[in-house]
Amino acid sequence: MSAAVTTAVAEATRPRLRLRDLRLGTVLAPLVVGVVFLGGWQLLVDGLGIDPYIVPAPSAIWDQVVAGWSNIVDGMQVTGRNALIGMLVGGVIGVLGAILASLSKVVDQMAVPIVSALSVVPIVALAPVLYTMFGAAVDTGRIVVAALAVSIPVYFNTLRGLRQVSTVHRELMSAYAATPTQVIRTVTLPTATPYVFTGLRIASSLAVISALIAEYFGGPVGGLGKAITSAAASSNYPLAWAYVTGSIVLGLAFYVVTLLVELWFARHTPPTP
């Protein structure tokens, strides 16, 4: 029996993110699409003689990426730093808020209008106000924008996760005469953890977008957003697109890192429907 069981277990080990099972097609298909898209774009721009202010050729953008690489990296660092701090602060606010709301019905109901309002208002719209509030020479306004944008999805997902505790687990804790604190520590928080990271994954791209767009409305120079606007203002369109490329890379980096963290924390949890 034991031998049969052991093989069965070996097959069932670690179900998600199996790189060895990754098929060539899975990697190849998006690459082919990308190459075809870029090639078509290049041909179209060259063939029709489209002006760079409408859309520059990928080759022109690439030249700018190579030439201005160190500037792009600097911009990514500035914007990335704002997005990261915003994400951490917003994550903490979202999680703590959700814990409060899950513990008290009153808090939950009081939070509904505020959270709903925040989730329908484009938070970047607050940027000009925040610049006046905190001063336009510092990044604080941008961090606040990113933090607010992050806190909403984290709040919703964490709150959902805190309510996913299964009946069996609740009854077991009751049968063990566990104290409320023990129930929260042993069952409620671990159940919610994968949900927190789902919230953070959704929020990760929002953090970058918010931090970047907030730069359009003023504040100190150096970030990707400011670089895009000033390149466009000086009619250097390929350079503006090069900075856009940098923004895409930054956004992807945030997304992939949080995705990996999420997969790690959810590795033993069955997928949610």
Partner: protein, 274 residues
């Protein structure tokens, strides 16, 4: 402490009525049953006969509308606080983020047992349920039968004198189920714990039990209590696979079945006709 002669469970005249707005569902009506120390008693009956409700009342996961329940001479609440019983449900209910060993150690950890002692106990229990090599695995790496064995080991963690089991093998296939039944007989013999066991399966109830409590629904009540001992069966601690082929086993199964499907008992109201 309570003397050894105290019954593990004493249920007297228990009613449980669920009220939803104007609806009233009588889950249990005037139920009285006792389980002696070390005795194995099964509750069997169709869905809605209140067998799980009765077990939940004993476990203090629910409270009776009328009547009284004592567990080792205490109220169910006190017995729950004193951890006098271990419990297992149809779902194994393991914590997926904890290893098998730390799932078994969970009740001990919640009650402040030191880590060395916990480790020793979980090693012991893993051996008891035949999962020595799986302590460091996570539940998602185990089959359903293995998960259920972990759940039973967890229920035994604090060496309770009473086990409450609500269809623990209900979700398992027939072959695994019979093997688990054999193991449960052995575990009960080794630990001497009394068991209150809820099941849908007549052979399972007869194979495992000293007595089988046959229940019927609407309102949930006890139809009869069938003794499953006697020639060819012996006590619940002596059952082996041979018992499944014994004539006495089939007689007892037939007797239980008759009570389950048989003609309505005179004087009982609300018997379902099918």
């Amino acid at each position: 402490m309570t003397p050894a002669s105290t019954a593990a469970i004493e249920v007297t005249g228990v009613d449980r009525i669920f009220r939803r707005r104007r609806d009233e569902v009588v889950a249990l009506r005037d139920v009285s049953v006792s389980v002696a120390a070390g005795e194995f008693v099964s509750l069997i009956g169709p869905s809605g006969c209140g067998k799980s409700t009765l077990l939940r009342l004993v476990a203090d996961l629910d409270t009776p509308t009328a009547g009284s329940i004592s567990v080792f001479g205490k109220t169910p609440r006190q017995a729950r606080r004193d951890q006098d019983y271990g419990i297992a449900f149809q779902q194994a209910g393991l914590l997926p983020w904890r290893t098998v060993a730390s799932n078994i150690e969970l009740p001990l950890k919640l009650h402040g047992v030191g880590s060395a002692e916990r480790r020793a106990r979980s090693d012991e229990l893993l051996e008891l349920v035949g999962l020595e090599d799986f302590g460091k695995h996570h539940p998602d790496q185990l089959s359903g039968g293995m998960q259920q064995r972990v759940a039973i080991a967890r229920a035994l963690a604090e060496s309770p004198r009473l086990l409450l089991m609500d269809e623990p093998f209900g979700a398992l296939d027939e072959i695994t189920r019979e093997r688990m039944q054999n193991e449960l007989v052995r575990i009960c013999r080794d630990t001497g714990a009394a068991v209150l066991f809820v099941t849908h399966s007549i052979p399972e109830a007869v194979f495992l039990s000293d007595r089988v409590v046959v229940m019927s629904p609407r309102p949930g009540r006890i139809v009869d209590i069938v003794t499953a001992g006697g020639a060819g069966l012996g006590s619940s601690h002596e059952r082996t696979d041979e018992v499944r082929d014994a004539a006495e086993f089939f007689h007892t199964v037939a007797a239980v079945r008759e009570h389950l499907h048989g003609s309505p008992v005179a004087g009982v109201r609300g018997v379902e006709s099918r």
